[in-house]
Amino acid sequence: MMVETTIQDISIEALRNGDRAEFARLVDAYSAPIYHLGLRMLGNEQDAEDVLQNTFLSALTHLPTFEGRSSVLTWLYRIAVNEALMTLRRGKPEVNIDDTDSSDENENIHPTQFVDWGALPEDELLSTEGKQALDHAIQNLPENLQTVFLLRDIQDLSIKDTADALNLTESNVKVRLLRARLMLREQLSYYYGERMKKEKSNG
């Protein structure tokens, strides 16, 4: 996306050697996507800003050992996702850190809503209320599906980079992505179905 084109000339070697000006350029190139990922995962600006700052502080500490097996952005996303998950878990002490993969990866989500809302006009689909319904549905995705969905469909990472960032296999990413997309589709179908019913009864 937009950011990828601005980063091509950043020198990993300079970053590893502690070049502060180069680090400042890295921060400017990638702070926006990291901030918006945090905002999506945590739902509030203060926590997103904490994740942003902690991500780059951690990157600064660990840059000398960055091996470059993934891109810098993928590496930053990995740090940011971990920071955000730690923040989420601080708020929910009952969540077991090892228990995030408990859902059956082989179980497909079966569609139950067959409302044909895809042909609704764009301004209706992207109304303020429609966007809120979408944001709400994304916010309510289970954590292990949400992280995959955010990196792949919102931050626009490839399947491979998403897998690298989350330490998953590519096939795990694909399964989780499909489940996330189908869950969102289900929620939006319910929402737009209700809207279509109301319009019919009013008109």
């Binding site: 937009m2 950011v3 502060r20 000006a21 680090f23 400042a24 921060v27 400017d28 702070s31 926006a32 996507p33 901030y35 918006h36 905002l39 600006e45 800003e49 942003l52 700052q53 780059f56 502080l57 600064l60 497909n108 079966h110 569609p111 067959f114 409302v115 044909d116 809302w117 895809g118 042909a119 689909l125 992207l126 429609g130 966007k131 979408l134 944001d135 994304i138 469909d153 919102i154 694909k174 992505l177 499909l178 997309r181 189908l182 969102l184 589709r185 939006l188 179908s189």
Partner: protein, 89 residues
Amino acid sequence: MAESTHNTCEGLLGSLSDYIDGELGAELCRQIEKHIAECEDCRIVVDTTRKTIDLVHASNAPQTGLPDDVRDRLFKRLNLDKYLKPSAK
């Protein structure tokens, strides 16, 4: 039901993401298209899933910037104050 073929509802569901992302081979696409021409429910699932992803992209597009105050505090926290030039927005 043969799950490995793409001319069934179950088979289509398993390949839905690859199909929408344009990562499925021509023969499998053809099987899916044949199926959705005959199965209205699957046609709706394909269309509305694709639309869901389109909406995600469209509604997320304006959120690419970083608020100036957030950027200022980030640079200060990282002791990068002297590189704090105006953002190139």
